[in-house]
Amino acid sequence: MLKTLSAFIIGLIFGTGIILSGMANPAKVLNFFDVYGTWDPSLMFVMGGALVVTTIGYRLVFQMNHPLLESGFSLPARKDIDGKLILGAATFGIGWGLSGFCPGGLIPALGLGSIEPLYAAAGIITGILAFRLVTQSRLNQPAT
């Protein structure tokens, strides 16, 4: 219960930050990418603000023996830079440049009450499920 409640409040803070920062506004995101046109560098400041707080905050948190409500930290262990990472990141950037929505920017936009963000949400959900379907069917194929 405490985990669920705290996650809700953290999500609320995250979403508020996203909205204030402009990350939920495709016009602003696409102008950030449009360095040779109507460039709006605001989103550099989002990254800057988030990174300063997170870098310092993580350092302090990792001095704790364990998180408040769990017995240990769940951190990604992988260190290798493989083709999937590179191809996946490149693909994501193309989709972000086409739609103006990254996943974190889209979710608070869904709460604004307009229809358009739902098209992007339907696309993202279909993309995640399609990827899952393809990778699973590959795993299920007998080894040759």
Binding site: F14, G48, T54, L85, G105, A120, G123, I128
Partner: protein, 142 residues
Amino acid sequence: MTEFTPILSMLGGALIGVAVVALMAIQGRIAGITGIVSGLLTSPMSNDWAWRAAFILGMVVAPVGIAIATGNMPQISIPVSPLMLAVGGFIVGVGTSLGSGCTSGHGVCGLARFSARSLVATLIFMATGLATVFIIRHVIGV
């Protein structure tokens, strides 16, 4: 044109940082939206379902909180057709699944942990985002 908003954007970014640090301090988790959303979609029976759903719900209602606090619903502008939103969204869904993360997971959590994987991913998705907008606006000229 959109207005240059360095202070508001930095403040928003700092709030994102507060949330990211809080999730690590309380649950020991990376606040990557791709990971949280795919967990919701693909592991509905998991013990983690409830907190993930609560986190996403909190994000969705954030604009309502802002509307209550300020008296105005935040405004966004979407200069993209519904078809392009759906197509772009689909590509985002595939790319973030394949690359194990998006702006939040790689660009904030990963960079703050000095992860080389996240640095590579962030540089690449920023570069292809820039290239895509360049091609659409200045080569094709939409």
